[in-house]
Amino acid sequence: MQFMLMINEDESAYAGEGGAALMEQVLAGHMKLAEDLVAAGIPFSGERLKPASTATTVRSDNGTVTLHDGPFAETHEELGGFYIIDVPGLDEALEWAKRIPVPKGGIEVRPVWQMGPQG
């Protein structure tokens, strides 16, 4: 069963003194996680996204389309990246989600809709 693990985090954690060092740590954590996933034989994909300030949002309202400078929702935590993993069930997905390094934020875990005959 596929799950998307969405990394929502407060980017301000990486600002200021020590921010760069923290980022190094987190990146190292992600590399370790990828190694562990490979070692566990879990099919996965994932990407790191550039900061929310680089986002552009296409909004659609009854056919009218407008562009906005910034992410879809202005919140403290922004979408920073994601993983998609293939594991037997929610408990396993949650276990992996807990291992994603996130100084300040949370991981949303949601099942991916399977196309075709349901398992």
């Binding site: 799950f3 069930g89 929610l90 408990d91 997905a93 949650l94 099942p111 005959p117």
Partner: protein
């Protein structure tokens, strides 16, 4: 019906769908009642009938081939003939524990777990559960529907958790049961039960005993069952002839259920052998100490105080501190108790009737009648249920 929990649990485990399990059971139950003669093994009959019906449903919905894949052709062959039931040694695996763990999965909100367990395992009607948790029937129905959908869609496995996840998951199960029990127990006057015609406390007791029976090496599970038994043992003594609440220290011990007290004591002894203490066991120990008044005629308040000290360390909460202050007052006098109450966060407790009632009690003992009356007024202003209100009014009149 006694067969319900085992059959529904087994169905849920095989169908991996709570709704389908409940519906299939309900249908099978109806058909069973319509039979000219009850089958010898009702539970087995229900299980096979329900599963057959559910399979038919799946076949129609998904096409024959996929139904076979989903459940395994062995399973189908197994139940091809009703007569086979008699040959199967134990056709219904005991999946109740599994179902309880699923209903208490942390992925489900805390406020919905207890309701889900009561609905799916005990078969309580939604109206009863709604009143238990003081929400509208529609709101509770929606909550439960969403919860069942989440179990189905979010990939919650129909398996017992892995051993290493056990402590966390068991904790969730016990907290759920405690919550359900507290809600049932708060109905001191039985208003809820009378309304709905169900003995909710009995349902929770059954669940707690089930968990203790299925997990005999888990001392906290035993402690919770003991706690529930002890509270239930006092059911006959909680109201007086007028329907007013009678507090524990004033209850007529001849109205206590000593069979339940003995059962609770046995559970606590078994829990003690495991050597791992915890909040449920401590709470049960406090209740057991109170229960000894039925044997010794007095309450060992210093023992109660010591136990509250332990409980406070395990579970720091204003309500525990409140109960501790009352015990303190019994050993060191009302003034000491009032000092302890003064240390509690008054803003947080402003809406808690027990806080005002406790203050009133100690103020009266300390000779401050007016202040006591004021405190009782505060409690009465917080809309107590009938049984409690009658008691508070009687206390006020006696000042």
């Amino acid at each position: 019906m006694a067969a319900r929990p085992r059959v529904v649990a087994a169905l849920a485990a095989q169908l991996r769908d709570l709704d389908a399990a409940e519906e299939a059971f309900a249908e099978a139950a109806e058909r069973c009642l319509a039979l000219a003669e009850l089958p010898r093994d009702v539970a087995a009959w229900l299980f096979v009938a329900a599963k057959r019906r559910a399979l038919d449903g799946i076949r129609k919905a998904r096409g024959e081939a996929r139904a076979l894949d989903a459940l395994g052709s062995d399973a189908l062959a197994e139940i091809s003939d009703m007569a086979d039931i008699l040959q199967l040694p134990d056709p219904i695996p005991d999946e109740r524990l599994r179902l309880l763990f699923i209903c208490c999965h942390p992925a489900l909100g805390a406020e919905v777990r207890a309701g889900l367990a009561l609905k799916v395992i005990c078969g309580l009607p939604v109206s009863a559960i709604a009143r238990l948790f003081v929400v509208s029937e529609q709101a509770m129905f929606q909550r439960l529907t969403r919860a069942k959908a989440k179990v189905r869609e979010a990939g919650i496995a129909f398996e017992l958790p892995a051993r290493k996840a056990w402590p966390e998951r068991l904790g969730a199960v016990l907290l759920t049961l405690e919550l359900a029990f507290t809600a049932a127990y708060a109905d001191a006057g039985g208003e809820l039960a009378a309304d709905v015609g169900e003995d909710l406390g009995a349902e929770v007791e059954r669940l707690a005993l089930l968990v203790a029976e299925l997990l005999p090496e888990e001392p906290e599970a035993l402690g919770l069952a003991a706690l529930v038994l002890l509270a239930r043992s006092r059911a006959g003594a909680r109201l007086d002839a007028r329907g007013a609440m009678v507090p524990l220290s004033r209850q007529d011990v001849y109205r206590w259920d000593y069979a339940r007290i003995a059962q609770a004591r046995a559970l606590m002894e078994a829990a003690a052998r495991a050597g791992r203490s915890g909040p449920c066991q401590v709470m049960a120990a406090i209740q057991l100490t109170h229960a000894r008044r039925g044997f010794d005629g007095v309450v060992d308040w210093s023992a109660v105080l010591r136990l509250y000290d332990v409980l406070l360390a395990l579970r720091p909460s204003p309500m525990v501190a409140l109960s501790r202050a009352l015990a303190l007052a019994q050993t060191r006098g009302a003034e000491a108790g009032l000092d302890a109450l003064d240390e509690l966060p008054a803003e947080r407790l402003a809406l808690a009737r027990p806080f005002h009632a406790a203050r009133a009690d100690l103020l009266a003992k300390a000779g401050q009648g007016n202040a006591a009356r004021e405190a009782l007024d505060k409690a009465l202003a917080l809309d107590p249920p009938r049984a409690e209100r009658l008691w508070l009014e009687a206390r006020r009149a006696a000042l």
